[in-house]
Subunit: 164 residues, 2 copies
């Protein structure tokens, strides 16, 4: 694993970065073969990340002042430990910028945010076929939550239950 060069930096995104964030969301979805699931747009990104009550936070990574990746995260909660956790919703490094340690730098930055905020853990979900990502995360010491199944209620099933 290489160490990121001095020309690499990470910054909090601002409302001016909305088009760039949307572009990275779409590039990540394309890589994950899930582009058909992307229904967000600039207005939603602006309202949800930069409105009065942000639902999540965005970081941008730059190499030589060119954007090369991003991360979107929010804080979740563990009742068992009674502490918040950091949930990493999106992590993406542009294909042409990979192999330089930028993904690790983004994760290390998030780890520092988590520790400063008193979080006991960072969690995220990886597509099962994404072996390069899974290997990378395991080498960092991440464990997999193999005993749990995530359920999701959405669309008509959610509307039906809400209307009872």
């Amino acid at each position: 694993m290489q160490t990121a060069p001095a020309s690499f930096r990470i910054e909090k995104a601002t409302v001016n970065d909305v088009p760039l964030i949307l572009q990275f969301i779409r590039e990540l979805a394309e890589y994950e073969k899930l582009l058909d699931r992307v229904t967000t747009n600039e207005n939603r990104v602006r309202d949800t990340l930069f409105g009065a009550e942000p639902a999540a936070h965005a970081l941008l990574a730059y190499e030589n002042n060119q954007p090369v990746g991003f991360a979107i995260y929010f804080f979740n909660y563990s009742t068992f430990v009674g502490r918040p956790g950091l949930y990493l919703e999106d992590l993406f490094v542009s294909p042409e910028a990979r192999g330089k340690g930028f993904g690790r730098e983004l994760l290390a930055h998030l780890a520092r945010i988590a520790v400063e905020r008193g979080c006991g853990r960072i969690e995220w979900a990886v597509l099962d076929w994404n072996e390069p990502a899974k290997g990378f995360y395991k080498r960092l010491g991440a464990i997999t939550m193999d005993d749990w199944t995530v359920f999701r209620l959405m669309d008509q099933a959610l509307a039906d239950l809400a209307s009872k």
Copy 2:
């Protein structure tokens, strides 16, 4: 599936409910055979759920004015749809109060909160061996996120990465 009787009600928890919430957290953990993972206490429950910036929200369910269950939830975020989601961290109905539709009533209450808040989905995690729960959720129309693996970075691995 029975309909909950009129003697059943759901209320937002208040800071006076901290001991009861902690008791339910421990009862749920015991049912999940994870009681050894519970390190929270009344102070942490109070600070994280009823402090200046609550990390999560608690609901309590009552039958004939006796507490029979609880739910803890927070709002997460989907970048693909650009909307918040509702994440159900804990859902528990006391063993002696099961089979009366109270779990479904709690979930329906959460579904209404999700819809009012503009959430596209409710998500939660279930232990793989908990077949009764899995069957119950599937009958409500919930789907399982089978293509994803959840990773977690914690303890020394988190501290190591943060100190880079």
